[in-house]
Symmetry: C2
Subunit: 191 residues, 2 copies
């Protein structure tokens, strides 16, 4: 999606350690017009797939998911990161490693809000190592729901998450795929 | 807002300890059509006030804020809860107690995304003890921005937050104010 790539080049910052900072428009300050274009594109890519629920994970996926959901005419469920180790049987639960923070979170979805009648599109802002995304896919499987595919705003193509999820036979559509980036001169190559 | 009150009566659950569970439509599963009506109502209440930024706090405020922002034609900034105690000078930072979890979080906003040119509407899903809301108002003051007012979906009118914030001279518009609720029979009285 050229619009998103252009915005990443214009306002994104490449930091050492393969960090791409897009908090000026995506995950701290949010440009809702851009989110609307992103949502429209997901709706185009996943048209006629019977998507009736969007699943995301707190926090930065929520804005994209809610605005995309307007184009699908369906509700959003956001998975929560739980501090409690003791999860009640009312929830589906999966362990998700955070590559950034080197921690493991329990990620939960209430059994009330995900079931075998759901055709689910997973939406998130970033795909890098894929831990969160694989966790969400597992929650959908555990619920007996149908995973239609994943819609990602920015994929770091040089990290293993995208391949790992696609190798599971899951459709992943990333609107901007970064092939390489360089913190010395700030260049970003899309692929 | 009758639509929201009706939905609270229909799908909300009153639990012991003054807990109102609205995770079926507001803060776990999200009804984006309802959010759109909520956003429209905030836009009506705060019309012609020159609002050019919406500030909320992760996680459950983000969806409401993003959809409301579409009606204001402005960006959203969401304050982040930080785990680090050592906050860089690039951020405005305030301590916010969580009444539910009995913890204190540092809540931060990048100085890049809040400044003296901003006329800010604060949006959140709940107002109870008002700790988060007062924290957000303090961040706005620290940034030298103008606080236009607050837009709250559900206010627990029997808890002290609403009065505390209004006593500071801040305009607070809550779309549903709960006067009392009873976990024995599930009744909710609006006021």
């Amino acid at each position: 999606m050229k619009l998103l790539e252009d915005r990443i080049v214009k306002d994104g910052k490449v930091l050492p350690g393969n960090v791409l900072k897009v908090d000026g428009f995506l995950n701290h300050r949010i440009d809702v017009n851009l989110l609307n274009d992103i949502g429209k594109e997901f709706a185009r890519l996943y048209a006629n797939q019977g998507v009736n629920k969007i699943l995301t994970i707190e926090a930065s996926g929520i804005g994209i998911a809610c605005i995309a959901a307007q184009h699908f005419g369906c509700p959003v469920v956001f998975a929560k990161k739980s501090k409690t180790t003791n999860i009640s049987s009312d929830f589906y639960c999966v362990d998700v490693e955070s590559y950034t923070h080197k921690t493991t979170n329990k990620v939960i979805v209430s059994k009330e809000y995900l079931d075998e009648n759901d055709r689910v599109l997973v939406i998130d802002d970033f795909l890098a190592n894929g831990c969160a995304l694989r966790g969400l896919c597992k929650l959908i499987k555990d619920a007996g729901a149908t995973l239609v595919g994943c819609g990602i705003a920015i994929e770091k193509g040089f990290q293993p998450g995208g391949k790992a999820v696609r190798d599971l036979g899951i459709r992943v559509e990333s609107l901007a795929v970064i092939k390489s980036m360089n913190s010395d001169d700030g260049t970003i190559v899309f692929g």
